[in-house]
């Protein structure tokens, strides 16, 4: 699966998933484009593979997994700081997001 360090799970997805740690500035050839990583990411995390507007749904597995809380640019890390659940807030040991 990971000839590339990232995988796009469904052609409609606007995020790709990291399969091998990657550094900020690395260029990823995926989904017919070259994406430059805006930050370093570790395995399992998501990167935007297209520009996403605030409020827009985040698509992974071809399904909505929540919505953007701010505009996200291609190559940016997509996580608790810029997206939220449309069902139930997520929590870490230190905070709750998406309430």
């Amino acid at each position: 699966m990971a000839e590339n360090k990232f995988v796009q799970l469904h052609p409609h997805d606007n995020v790709i998933v990291c399969c091998q740690s990657a550094q900020k500035g690395e260029q990823i050839n995926i989904a017919n484009q070259v994406i430059t990583l805006d930050s370093s990411v570790t395995i399992g995390h998501k990167i935007a593979c297209q520009d996403i507007a605030a409020g827009e749904q985040i698509l992974k597995y071809g399904a909505s997994i929540g919505s953007a809380t701010e505009a996200i640019k291609t190559g940016q890390h997509v996580h608790l700081h810029n997206m939220k659940s449309d069902y139930i807030a997520s929590h870490t040991r230190h905070s709750v997001t998406g309430e």
Binding site: M1, A2, E3, V7, L9, V17, C18, C19, Q20, T42, I43, G44, H45, K46, I58, K60, Y61, A63, S64, I65, G66, V78, H79, L80, M83, K84, S85, D86, Y87, I88, A89, S90, H91, T92, R93, G98
Partner: protein
């Protein structure tokens, strides 16, 4: 597969003597008996509460008469609310040897431990007489849960279990998946796989019930480690968890402790009915494994990304690691490396076949990693369900 044939006709893949404390006050005595026996087939289980609970009673009855259980020693303080007479009668009715030791009637801690050891030794000898038979794949019940999920779980280990489930179901085995709170967000997608339009409605309803319940609890079924591993939302975790169910038709919904009434694929509705009463539905993964066992699971498939190390009393747990970095770190605890899918060296189908083959070997007596390490976790707490109570115990 080789199996143990019980007097009630059920077929088990392990031959376990369970020592059961019926209230936390009897825990030390029961644990001391198990520790002094120091035998892998003598295992400790129990219920901590003093107040009676129909769900806990039904669960304990199903667990003590599980095909993998050959005999039972009940340890009661004496004044707790657990209906030990009902439980003992139900176990005896199933043809299993059962003894009850009431600490208050046996001279206290020391004497009860000594009697417990003597009785356990006698029961172990009885267990050794259990006839060995053969069972086929279509007699197996396999459950699946996930714990410590991360962003790799839904890509490697969970769909690999899904492939394994599809293969088991086509071989006429019975498979159970669960945690309706971890299906929040994919209820509509799941409903399309229902055997009937009525079941489709029920599938959606039980996920809506879970969403309402967790919302009242103030937390979803989402742990900090999930976020550290790349998962951001409940629905993202759900889509990954859902992949464990494979692609077969969904044939029914059961509640914890209920047995599937036919072969096929079942969803376990683990979230209590009615207004939230006793707190979180399942306070940790161990409780989910126990619910699978109470519904008859011979083996539980446990997928993990962050790396859980647990096993269980009574039924073996096969751990399938989704994340190659976690596998490298915790390989002693993992039975299957689904991280190979992330690294690109294996397909999801290949890992699914590996799981399938391991199920057959574990069924034949091969120990899982958690069994080798002595993991025998057990957790049962209070719950309430509309359909679980005295009426369904008869």
């Amino acid at each position: 597969m080789r199996c143990y044939l019980r007097n009630d006709g059920s077929k088990g893949i392990r031959n376990t003597l369970v020592v059961v404390y019926l209230v936390e006050c009897a825990h030390h005595v029961a644990r001391s008996i198990v520790n002094k026996m120091d035998h892998p087939d003598v295992q400790l289980i129990g219920f901590p509460g003093c107040y009676p609970n129909n769900y806990a009673l039904a669960m304990m009855k199903n667990i003590c008469t599980h095909p993998n259980v050959g005999g039972v020693l009940l340890v009661s303080l004496g004044c707790e609310g657990f209906n030990r007479e009902y439980l003992s009668d139900a176990i005896a009715e199933s043809g299993r040897p059962v003894n009850t030791l009431v600490i208050q009637q046996n001279g206290g801690t020391k004497n009860t431990i000594a009697k417990g050891i003597t009785q356990s030794q006698i029961m172990l000898e009885q267990l050794a007489q259990c006839p060995i038979e053969y069972m086929h794949l279509d007699e197996l019940v396999i459950g699946t849960i996930c714990g410590g999920s991360d962003g790799t779980s839904g890509i490697s280990a969970n769909p690999a279990v899904g492939k394994c489930f599809d293969r088991l179901i086509s071989a006429d085995a019975t498979c159970i998946f669960e945690e309706t709170g971890e299906l929040v967000g994919c209820e509509q997608i799941m409903a399309h796989r229902a055997e009937s339009p009525e079941l489709a409605k029920q599938l959606i309803n039980c996920v809506v019930k879970a969403e309402n319940y967790y919302t009242k609890m103030g937390y979803g079924s989402f742990a900090p480690g999930n976020a550290e591993g790349g998962l951001t939302t409940q629905e993202e975790k759900s889509m990954g968890a859902y992949a464990k169910s494979g692609a077969s038709q969904i044939n029914g919904i059961i509640k914890p402790g209920e047995k599937p009434n036919k072969k096929g694929l079942f969803l376990m509705d683990v979230v209590p009915d009615g207004e939230p009463m006793f707190g979180f539905p399942n306070i940790s993964d161990n409780q989910e494994i126990v619910e699978m066992i109470a519904s008859g699971a011979h083996i539980t498939l446990f997928t993990t990304g962050r790396g859980s190390v647990v096993g269980s009393a009574i039924s073996p747990v096969i751990k399938i690691c989704a994340n190659p970095e976690t596998y490298a770190n915790l390989s002693d605890d993992m039975d299957i490396n689904a991280g190979a899918v992330i690294e690109g060296s294996k397909t999801v189908k290949q890992v699914g076949d590996e799981i399938f083959e391991l199920i057959v070997r574990v069924g034949n007596g091969e120990q899982t990693k958690s069994e080798q390490m002595g993991h025998q976790e057990f957790l049962l707490t209070y719950k309430t369900f509309d359909s679980i109570g005295p009426a369904c115990l008869k």
